[in-house]
């Protein structure tokens, strides 16, 4: 497995980088792979919240960089999923506390001990982004089906090209088939027309996602979550399996038509 260091980035904030990182990492760990998720968003730490590990952090990545503890000591073991570890970001420092070469060093130390290393990149295209992308073998760009997110993702892809990284893969997050059918949201083709990347997955909008994040339980743990199912498929595709991407189409049900008729949407 050559592509074991995977950086998840987007350019724009709030598109679901941390959620995708947490869920795909959990899905791979559930399949028995040894996975570590590194939160590279120094100063705005939140991957620990999505994984529900916020109360177990003792050391963080800045302690590792400063040489206070070795990387293995700073890792937080997930309470539910065996084989899943988190290297948390520091909340008290900022992005200049970790340099690209520091992260490369940490990743090299962890590389032999894990099957997959996920790096959750900060938003933006400055120092923090470069730090997160530098050690990566594979880059996953997360974009929402809206122009602002697509343009930022496009910029990030251009920067990755300039850094001589392999072409990033694309995850479209928060696609609402209902809105697409109404013409209120861009569809997958529109996004691909601009970005022109390998599509790794399309995660549908899931109204339960907020509660999963608030509870600190990744959606992939729940069979009933539609987003969780697609995030598990993304993990399968990362393993090289050929899982077809479902076409998210929406057709009005009889009940919807009835609701429309009576004007209660």
């Amino acid at each position: 497995m050559a592509d074991k260091v995977i950086c998840i980035t987007s350019g724009k904030g709030g598109v679901g980088k941390s959620t995708v990182t947490a869920n795909v990492a959990t899905a791979l760990a559930m399949k028995g792979y040894k996975v570590v998720a590194i939160d590279a968003d120094i100063g705005l730490r939140n991957l620990d919240l999505v994984l529900g590990l916020e109360n177990r952090i003792v050391y963080d990545i800045v302690h590792v960089v400063e040489g206070v503890v070795p990387p293995e000591k700073a890792l937080v073991k997930d309470k539910r999923t065996k084989n899943l570890y988190l290297l948390p970001a520091a909340q008290t420092k900022d992005k200049s506390a970790v340099k690209p070469e520091d992260l490369v060093k940490i990743v090299e130390e962890l590389r032999d001990k894990f099957d997959f290393i996920f790096i959750d990149s900060p938003a933006g295209i400055e120092e923090g982004f470069r730090t997160a992308v530098t050690p990566a073998d594979t880059i996953i760009v997360v974009a929402n089906p809206e122009m602002a997110s697509i343009r930022d993702a496009d910029r990030v892809v251009g920067l990755c090209e300039a850094m001589q990284k392999p072409e990033p893969k694309l995850v479209i997050n928060r696609l609402d088939p209902k809105k697409v059918a109404r013409g209120d949201m861009l569809d997958v083709e529109d996004v691909l027309q601009v970005l022109n990347l390998d599509l790794l997955g399309v995660v549908p909008e899931d109204k339960n996602m907020v509660s999963y994040i608030n509870r600190g339980e990744p959606a992939v743990l729940f069979e009933e979550s539609i987003a969780g199912r697609e995030l598990r498929n993304i993990a399968e595709r990362l393993l090289g399996k050929n899982v077809p991407i479902p076409r998210w189409t929406y057709s009005e049900s009889f009940l919807d038509k009835l609701k429309k008729l009576f004007g209660s949407e």
Binding site: I150, D152, D154, V157, L159, E161, V194, N196
Partner: protein, 216 residues
Amino acid sequence: MDFKLRGTNVIAIELLTDSSNFDLNEIKRFIAEKRQLLKGSRFILSVEDKTLTLDEVKELLNFFQSVNELTFCGFKTNVKENRELCISLGIPCDLSTMEIEKIKERADNEEVKFFKKTLRSGDKITSTGDIVIMGDVNPGAEVEAGGNVYVMGNLMGFVRAGIGKSEGEVRALYFQAPILEICGKQVPFERKESYVNFRIKMKDGKIKVEHKTGRN
């Protein structure tokens, strides 16, 4: 109708007409009136921005030959077709200085750049001359050219063409940009409007947009 006459540096008198005041009968009447003034002079007819037909040229020639007072020396024009027509009839015809200036605008040392990649958001390319892009220009990308811009793909970013010039064109197989600048003039487009086989041209201070119907 009154026409303007002016002396030229080849010791001739030039009668100036253009698309707005070109009228065969008026020209004939004007010359008949000024016969005494034009006596013994070399005469040039300048026709700007108007394409002459074969019949018009022949009629003018017959008329000038019938006027004994002046020596008709030929036409002067800024329209290529006129020049070609005159030359095919064996009549001398000069390109006007305006046209010569425009040709000079395109300096010999201008470069033509080829790009065989998609320009992503944040990318910027420049050239003193023409640019040919074999790929898309995504939203947020910028292209700046002293000459023309040709995009063999989707043009969704910002293009500035014909910088410092009075003529230029931009072509794209598919066009969906909010705004474009050509020869210093900004041309906005409707949001979400898309065009196939798009072409925008700036010539003689006028902007001309051509395209097939939109893709959507």
